[in-house]
Amino acid sequence: MGNYYQPEIETASREEILAIQNEKIVKQVKHVYDNVKYYRDLMDAKGVKPEDIQSVDDIKKLPFLTKADLREAYPYGLLGTDLKNCVRIHSTSGTTGKRVVAFYTQHDVDLWNDCCARAIVAADGSSEDVCQVAYGYGLFTGGFGLHGGSEKVGCLTLPMSSGNTDRQIQFMMDLGATILCCTPSYAAYIGETLAEKGYKPSDNKLKAGIFGAEPWTEEMRHSIEESLGIKAYDIYGLTETSGPGVAFECCAQSGMHINEDHFYAEIIDPDTGEVLPEGSKGELVFTSLDKEAFPLLRYRTRDICVLTREKCACGRTHVKMSKPMGRSDDMMIIRGVNVFPSQIETVLLNEGYTPNYQIIVDRVNNSDTIDINVEISPDQFSDIVGENQAKERKLESAMRTMLGIGPKVHLVAPKSIVRSEGKAVRVIDKRKLHD
């Protein structure tokens, strides 16, 4: 048992949660059908009317939304209310030409902050705590999400944003931060820096960390817990559904409770789109239940995971999702940034190279590295060292602009990238994040 931010909801019986969901989904579908032409067209094409949706059991009749729909509908196509009712936007890190922009009314911000507040209380947070938010503030949802949750809980909130590690450590020590929110790789980096500065884990006042926005392993959890002297909690979310806090870990540290009164989760077969029975491994799909500005129905996350309803030691009744075990598309998450091989291909073609390349992702000292081997053609090869290096630097710069992270580019000989059955292996991920 533990503390809850909204105990009546977080520990509600299965029947009570279903009743809340059933009531909300009818209204949500009607709201979307009446206000979002893009989705109305999808429903009409499928022959589904709002009246067909009477409970969450009927959600499977609704059409899916994918990232491609979101790009297609950019920027206002999926907006569910007048812009004058919106108070904020956030945007995804992916820079595939068109970004995904999510809109929020004050109601949407409040429900999102509530979700994050639940996560902070589940990590033993209260008004006694000093919460250091070292996620990036800005278009990225991490900073503002945890910040809002922290204020709701009543923590003294340190809006540090990411980076400037010396300053992070100074505030952490001087103001006695007790909860740290950031990406797991940054938490690991802060831990290493503390050790370099001669601090022992017991020298800081931290007791908990809420880490998300990128995949991380149990090994990484243990190493962070040891280096900072804390308990480390996972948190899950995506900009499309609000941001972090869609699901969060409790003291049991065995999966993340999905905030089911706001988000309905399904597991589907990524190939057929069919809903799979409880406990199956498949693609996670979210339907928002009470959002105004950006109400996505049946949004395919592409994350592969498992849902479980086993009784949880923490007393919460909401369904738990496993850590994502992989992706149903070729997206990679590198240093918290979404990267698609197609983006890299686009840069190569723009710069006059053949699309023969290989991406090697690794994790060195708990930080992701990305190297791109690019095959060159005779007309690109120079007998002068500096000219070849300048080509590599130019590609790196173009990649950085496209991806939002800086890879190392290496020119390699033609036909040197191994092709199996005629098809080149595009990505080698050495991070071993999934079993």
Partner: protein, 142 residues
């Protein structure tokens, strides 16, 4: 005239240089002069051979081979000879990308290969100052 140099892309992997050189040996091609530039990712093998055309054919299957025009200037065997040549190029505002030296077997003469921005201009100015340079026909002979 200036002479033709081959530049070969050699991957920074065990056995790659060996394979390249073996291909030349098997084809009976004599290497007159060479240098290697090593970068982090790969090496650039620069060659002047007895038969560039044939060398390109045998290496093209394995790797990338480019051609570049370079100057091979004969050096007098005395202190200050290189300085004098460099001074001529410097005065003519000709920039050197790289250079390397070799000895010819016929006359035991010392030669320096210059890779410059403008090979034709360099050739002209050196010859005007009495510095002898090789042409492609000479390479077959020496």
């Amino acid at each position: 005239m200036a002479i033709q140099q081959l530049s070969v892309f050699v991957e920074n992997q065990k056995g790659k240089l060996l394979g390249t050189v073996k291909a030349l040996a098997d084809a009976g091609i004599n290497i007159r002069a060479m240098s290697i530039a090593d970068t982090k990712d790969f090496g650039i093998l620069r060659l002047i051979t007895s038969d560039n055309q044939k060398a390109m054919e045998v290496l093209a299957d394995e790797s990338i081979v480019n051609t570049t025009m370079v100057i091979a200037a004969k050096m007098e065997d005395r202190a200050g000879a290189l300085y004098q040549v460099l001074q001529i190029l410097s005065d003519a505002q000709i920039n050197i990308e790289y250079l390397y030296a070799f000895t010819a077997s016929e006359d035991f003469g010392a030669y320096v290969v210059f890779r410059v921005s403008d090979a034709a201009a360099a050739q002209e100015i050196l010859n005007a100052h009495g510095v002898a340079t090789l042409d492609d026909a000479d390479i077959i002979e020496i």
